[in-house]
């Protein structure tokens, strides 16, 4: 549970209604460190806060999800991005996986279970990464 609560999650969606739905699901799973942004520009201004996970809407007026994704990955490839798309843009969302998105989720199929599954995978990946890093450091010092 400790690790779950440590996740810093950002939601970027120009639909305020939908933003709040995602936030509610995330909060109800026990993740409390959540921030919401109405567009890609205001989100990028806070990118230096290094969130662990970003739920990113595919289609937004100012900057598209794909453009924002590229900027996130250039800034910090360890930030995990979950693309949120409608059924019509599902192919766009799938394509973003090739550009570093961690996963995608369809708006009409969004539910607590889906979000829980995705966040669990991200935590597992994070833990695996930390473990590998620790083992590498240990092995490095054993050389001396």
């Amino acid at each position: 549970m400790d690790k779950i609560e440590q996740l810093k999650i950002f939601i970027v969606d120009d639909d305020i209604f939908y933003q709040n739905i995602i936030e509610y699901y995330i909060n109800s799973l026990g993740y409390k460190d959540v921030k919401k942004f109405n567009d890609g520009i205001s989100f990028l201004e806070c990118l230096s806060e290094n969130p662990d996970v970003v739920f990113l809407d595919c289609i937004m007026e100012t900057l598209t999800g794909y453009e924002v994704l590229k900027k996130i990955k250039r800034f910090n490839p360890n930030i995990q991005v979950v693309m949120v798309s409608s059924q019509e843009e599902i192919q766009t969302a799938v394509d973003t996986l090739k550009h570093g998105a961690f996963d995608y989720i369809e708006k009409s199929k969004l539910n607590k279970k889906n979000i829980k599954g995705i966040l669990k995978k991200i935590i597992d990946l994070k833990n695996h990464f930390t473990e590998t890093k620790t083992n590498f450091i240990k092995q490095f010092f054993q050389l001396f």
């Binding site: 120009d14 639909d15 305020i16 209604f17 939908y18 709040n20 739905i21 509610y24 699901y25 109800s28 289609i59 007026e61 409608s86 019509e88 708006k107 009409s108």
Partner: protein, 299 residues
């Protein structure tokens, strides 16, 4: 190709190549189709209509219509006579019917009579016939068909007729739907069932979402009217796309089809007047929903 020849385009998918069919060769009783290579094109249409039934015993015409509709992303089901059409219509619904007049077993006139009088269906029916005589036109209109298209026809003519009659059909349906909703005084235009499911019993959350909805809708409507007045159809479609998830969560069923049509209708097939109707209907329904939410949920 002759300047006045009538043509239709179709594509051979595996080759990503488009051809035009020269109807003159058919008219002049030549046995072969004249295929004219037009080069690769990507002309994906987007009429909101999705299912069309073609009743025609002429394989060539079926092939041509199928290819025209494919490029508009419309699924075509074809049968070869009126009896088969009626059997199918008892099991399945279609957005529009294209009906040949002269067919074996049961002709288009008799089939239309059954569809209108026995099945009581109001689905638009367009007569397809080789005969352009005025009295036949009158006859098909009298028995309840909605329009008349003489073979050979141009692709543009077919699409424009489909678009026109489907639009009229939708308009009538919307009006019926809205008046039905208005006539039942206690009937709410929204349903909080989905939000309540999400909230898992948290009434404060439902109330918060209702407040957000009531606050964002006027902004959406102002934007929608501005975009319509500017003739910015692309912007309008984008806005509708953005509005859709919240409409879905509020379960405003009367808006579902309207928003789908607004988002997907093809600019070239629909006039600004048609958009106006859809925009106005969206405005009226959403304004009513906001008033109902304010009165029932936020007092």
């Amino acid at each position: 190709m002759k300047k006045n020849s009538q043509t239709s385009f179709f594509s051979l998918e595996p080759f990503k190549t488009e051809f035009s069919v020269c109807y003159d060769s058919l008219k002049n009783n030549k046995n072969t189709l004249s295929l004219v290579h037009k080069g690769a094109k990507n002309k994906k249409g987007s009429l909101s209509i999705t299912k069309v039934l073609l009743v025609d015993d002429d394989e060539l015409n079926t092939f041509i219509v199928d290819n025209i509709l494919k490029r508009q992303n419309i699924a075509l089901t074809s049968v070869t006579n009126g009896v088969k059409a009626i059997e199918l219509l008892k099991k399945e619904t279609f957005d529009l019917i294209l009906m040949d007049i002269q067919m074996p077993i049961m002709n288009g006139i008799d089939a239309t009579n059954v569809i209108r009088n026995e099945l009581k269906m109001q689905t638009p029916i367009i007569a397809l016939t080789a005969n352009s005589l005025e009295h036949q036109k009158c006859q098909v209109m009298e028995i309840g068909m909605n329009d008349f298209l003489t073979k050979p026809f141009k692709e543009k003519e077919l699409i424009s007729l489909i678009s026109k009659h489907h639009y009229n059909f939708l308009t009538n349906n919307y009006e019926k739907l809205i008046s039905k909703k208005k006539s039942s005084k206690n009937k709410l235009l929204y349903d909080l069932k989905k939000l309540q499911e999400v909230s898992n019993g948290n009434d404060d959350f439902v109330k918060k979402m209702c407040t957000i909805f009531v606050n964002i809708v006027p902004t959406y409507l102002t934007q929608m009217n501005d975009l319509y007045n500017d003739g910015n159809i692309k912007g309008l479609k984008m806005l509708v796309h953005k509005m859709k998830p919240s409409i879905d969560y509020m379960l405003i069923s009367s808006l579902k089809q309207i928003l789908k049509d607004l988002e997907h209708i093809n600019d070239s097939n629909y006039s600004l007047e048609n958009f106006k109707f859809l925009v106005n209907t969206t405005n009226n329904i959403l304004t009513e929903v906001v008033n109902q939410i304010k009165n029932n949920e936020l007092t």
